[in-house]
């Protein structure tokens, strides 16, 4: 139905897709998976006309095609549901559903009576009962996603692409979605399904294609692949190789007696985090493990006040911190080094000196005037200490290498004299030498008594660097690895573990469940569907 061969797409500085083959067949649900930067999104955007491929061929219905715009792809019968709801919030539900194909009367004017009737019918068939005249934004996110789904399937689609469609759905809505997917299968429509939730993949998909670093690493029926194997394919870690690497150098025990410097408990954010609790002791590096979308970054953001939690508490060195406020978190001594340093961190047009002093300025000024001498002293100290390679404090940060930019950011937060440092992917996108230096720095800082929470998709870094690893899955803590259990092997098993209720899937990877059980701390909310979400359905439509 829709297939691509030898697809290559290069962006400045990165090859997003490298000779990828992919085929979606009628009546088949095809899972497309991979970690961040694996090329899934790029592939989807090429399939749906958002990007044009540099090389390779797209064949649709037996003919080679080239979609210049999303509209062309839609006309060819390819419709897409995006992860973020891509509808117009201020317009009514019906108008959103029918934009561009409204029923019209003889005068060419929109026939609202018919449009509202048909919209109502389309949504009812998906089990959604809402007043279709209401503005879309008055609906809950899940209901909005269902409207997007209704829109995607009500056009005459041959291929439906779903990019993480369940990320904002309630469990009940997920069931409805799966019902729709099965209906699409019966109608011989090809479905491309992107998700990080393994349970879903095994439940609804027939085939799976795994991408890593822009390359195709595996494609085949999903039933032939057990969970552990799937996770190792995604992360690029072979089990044999993992077991050969031996034990870690950390023991983790010597921190046990000390009072935690950071203690976050029961952090809950709707659809994102479910009662996540993390403790960090002074001098300890705690890793946050899990796949993309498991809630790692969100946990860090919730602690740092950047993501207001619905409930839960954060306590730093014994005193509670007001949640949902970055200034309060910073005052309490929490510093977050964000994942996307370009968008959320450095100011490329400013100098090294200004970038370092930015956050600390209020403390460095008297009567609103900046004390230059003190700034110079701090900047000098950190440039030396972190070995920032720049022509001088006045060089623009935008001109530095990725590793040095990262060190500038680190210096900015260290200048605030934090008690806890949250590092989200601190070594992503920087070269090997700088990576080792940053890793060394993290160790040094911890030795000096700082509490560090480390998020990394680099398994080696996470395992080697952390004293303890808290494993997240679907926004909930599923395991905690301490001491000798901090190994890649154990981590892979913890991530791949099937939900306890799902006995059938458990048998696919029997060793996974067996190994995780003794290794993990008993956590009340295990599995993918925390209890607190099922009861909140009544609030869906008016938040």
């Amino acid at each position: 139905m829709l297939s691509v061969t030898g697809l290559t797409k290069t962006f400045p500085g990165a090859r997003a897709l490298d000779g990828v083959d992919f085929a979606a067949l009628p009546g088949e649900v095809h899972a497309l998976i991979g970690e961040n930067g694996a090329g899934k999104s790029t592939l989807i955007k090429v399939l749906t006309g958002v990007y044009q491929p540099d090389e390779g061929e797209i064949v649709h219905d037996g003919r080679p095609v080239r979609f210049q715009t999303p509209l062309e792809a839609q006309h060819a019968g390819i419709s897409t549901i995006y992860q973020e709801v891509n509808l117009v919030p201020l317009m009514s539900v019906a108008r959103n559903l029918f934009l561009g194909r409204e029923p019209r009367n003889r005068l060419g004017l929109i026939d609202f009576r018919r449009m509202h009737g048909e919209a109502d019918e389309a949504l009812r068939s998906l089990g959604l009962r809402v007043d279709v005249k209401r503005p879309l934004r008055t609906l809950g996110v899940g209901a909005q996603q269902m409207v997007a789904l209704a829109r995607a399937v009500s056009v005459d689609a041959r291929v439906v692409v779903m990019d993480e469609p369940t990320s904002s759905l309630e469990p009940r809505e997920v069931r409805t979605l799966f019902g729709v997917i099965r209906m699409l299968k019966e109608r011989d429509i090809a479905v491309v399904y992107v998700s990080h939730r393994l349970d879903e993949l095994y439940e609804v998909c027939d085939k799976v294609t795994v991408l890593r670093d822009g390359k195709l690493v595996h494609t085949g029926p999903i039933a032939e692949l057990d969970r552990l194997r799937l996770v190792s394919l995604m992360l690029g870690r072979e089990m044999a190789e993992v077991s050969g690497e031996g034990v870690t150098k950390f023991t983790g025990d010597h921190h046990a007696g000390r009072e935690p410097v950071l203690s976050a408990s029961d952090l809950t954010v709707r659809h994102t985090l479910h009662q996540v609790s993390v403790e960090v002791r002074p001098g300890e590096v705690v890793g946050l493990g899990g796949l993309l979308g498991s809630g790692r970054s969100e946990t860090a953001k919730a602690i740092a006040g950047a993501l207001p939690p619905d409930s839960g508490t954060v306590v730093v060195a014994g005193s509670p911190v007001r949640t949902g406020s970055t200034p309060a978190a910073i005052r309490a001594g929490i510093s977050l080094l964000p994942e996307d340093r370009k968008a959320e961190g450095i100011v490329p047009g400013l100098s090294v000196r200004e970038n370092i002093a930015l956050a600390a300025l209020p403390g460095l000024s008297r009567f609103g005037l900046v004390d230059d001498a003190r700034v110079d002293k701090i900047v000098d100290t950190f440039m030396k200490r972190l070995r920032i390679k720049a022509s001088g404090p006045h060089q623009k940060v935008g001109e530095l290498s990725g590793g040095n930019q990262q060190k500038v950011l680190l210096a900015r937060w260290l200048a605030m004299q934090p008690k806890v440092l949250l590092l989200d992917e601190p070594t992503r996108g920087i070269d090997v030498g700088a990576k080792a230096e940053v890793q060394g720095l993290i160790d040094e800082l911890a030795d000096e008594g700082l509490g560090v929470l480390l998020i990394s998709s680099d398994m080696e870094e996470l395992i080697e660097g952390s004293d303890r690893v808290v494993v997240l899955k679907d926004g909930a803590v599923v395991a905690e690895l301490t001491g000798d259990d901090v190994t890649e092997d154990r981590l892979l098993h913890a991530i791949a573990a099937a939900p306890e209720s799902d006995a059938e899937l458990k048998t696919v990877a029997p060793d996974a469940a067996a190994i995780v059980a003794p290794a993990s701390q008993p956590v009340p909310v295990s599995g993918a569907v925390p209890l607190d979400r099922t009861s909140s359905g009544g609030e869906t439509d008016h938040d």
Binding site: G100, R129, S154
Partner: protein, 353 residues
């Protein structure tokens, strides 16, 4: 349409409203019908706040000044509102797409001069020439904004300066004033009355009806809302984003040119100094009328109310007489500030609900 054969759980949406609650049964779904009462109230305030204020000011004025409710005064206000209203009509489309058009004041003046000059060759030329030239400038604005992806503010600011320049060039730096033959049909378009009401007023009413139908009931109107509401989503849903933008700026240019020509017919001459600051007056009227400056929400009738409100306030201050007419602008400005604050507040409240 979808016909599912799968089992589906019957889904109660909790506090979903009873169907028909608060619904007027019309196709007008500007108000979030059936929404919670507080939301309904805030939507009503957004939609009809200007209308209520207009009525209060008008009632107050007719009690306070016996000259306010006279036929002459009303007729005067109506005709002088008509030209601004036509400009605001085009502006409403632009603002709903999330854009802005600063060129309309200059185009208004240019349209007037071209209309007066063209009237010597007959009514058709007097109308078509300003429409063609101003429409073309609007088209260029739209192309630069939609295709070259330049900021509307800058593009239309440039057009505003350029149009003023063209105007000065064809009038010898404003030294030439083209007159309209008072007995011509063209002059009649500005000066004649139909059923006791000036022709420009009738034209304005007709244009507003057409504009409202276009915005609410045509596919193009839906695209206008979609582009302003969420441009990326609109593009992904297959809406012709660029074409919609080009169309609204062209429309805005056409409206400004037509308003200018009719104004010239009314004044029986093309006055070059007109229209300065008119773009801001039009924007103010649109925003006072309840259209969101950020785009995606708004309605034509509101802009008409906004224009009338500005003109009534102007008129009242003139009636007071002892008050310097400069205070008109102070009052209009204060009014705009209040409206924007109210809009922001209502918007924030609604988001929290």
């Amino acid at each position: 349409m979808t016909h599912t054969h799968t089992e589906r759980p019957s889904r109660a949406t909790g506090n979903g409203p009873a169907p028909g609650k608060g619904a007027s049964g019309s196709d007008n779904d500007e108000a979030p019908l059936g929404a919670s009462r507080a939301e309904l109230l805030s939507a009503l305030a957004q939609q009809h706040g200007a209308l209520v204020t207009l009525l209060l000011v008008a009632i107050g004025a007719s009690i306070g000044f016996d000259t306010f409710l006279t036929g002459d005064n009303l007729e005067n206000m109506a005709v002088s509102s008509a030209f601004l209203a036509i400009v605001a009509l085009g502006m409403t489309f632009v603002i709903i797409t999330g854009g802005i058009d600063l060129s309309v004041g200059s185009l208004f003046a240019l349209g007037g001069v071209l209309g007066a000059w063209g009237s010597q060759y007959g009514t058709l030329v007097a109308l078509l020439l300003p429409l063609a030239v101003c429409g073309l400038i609007g088209l260029v604005n739209g192309l630069l904004i939609a295709k070259a992806r330049l900021a509307p503010f800058i593009v239309t600011l440039a057009a505003m300066l350029a149009a003023r320049g063209i105007l000065l060039a064809i009038t010898d730096e404003g030294a030439n004033t083209y007159l309209v033959d008072e007995k011509s049909f063209f002059a009649g378009l500005g000066q004649e009355k139909l059923l006791g009401v000036g022709v420009p007023v009738w034209i304005t009413v007709a244009l507003f009806v057409a504009g409202a139908v276009t915005l609410r009931r045509s596919r193009f109107g839906q695209y206008v809302y979609a582009v302003g509401g969420n441009e990326d989503a609109a593009a992904l849903m297959g809406a012709p984003v660029a074409r919609t933008k080009i169309a609204v700026y062209t429309l805005s240019g056409l409206c400004a040119g037509l308003a200018g020509a009719l104004n010239a017919a009314w004044l029986v001459s093309g006055v070059t100094i007109l229209g300065t600051g008119m773009e801001l007056e039009a924007i103010a009227a649109v925003v006072i009328g309840g259209t969101l400056l950020t785009g995606g929400f708004g309605f034509i009738s509101g802009s008409l109310v906004g224009v009338l409100l500005l003109k009534v306030i102007q008129n009242v201050i003139n009636q007071i007489g002892s008050l310097d007419s400069a205070y008109q602008q102070v009052v209009s400005g204060a009014f705009l500030a209040v409206v924007v604050i109210a809009q922001t507040w209502l918007g924030r409240r609604r988001r929290m609900m």
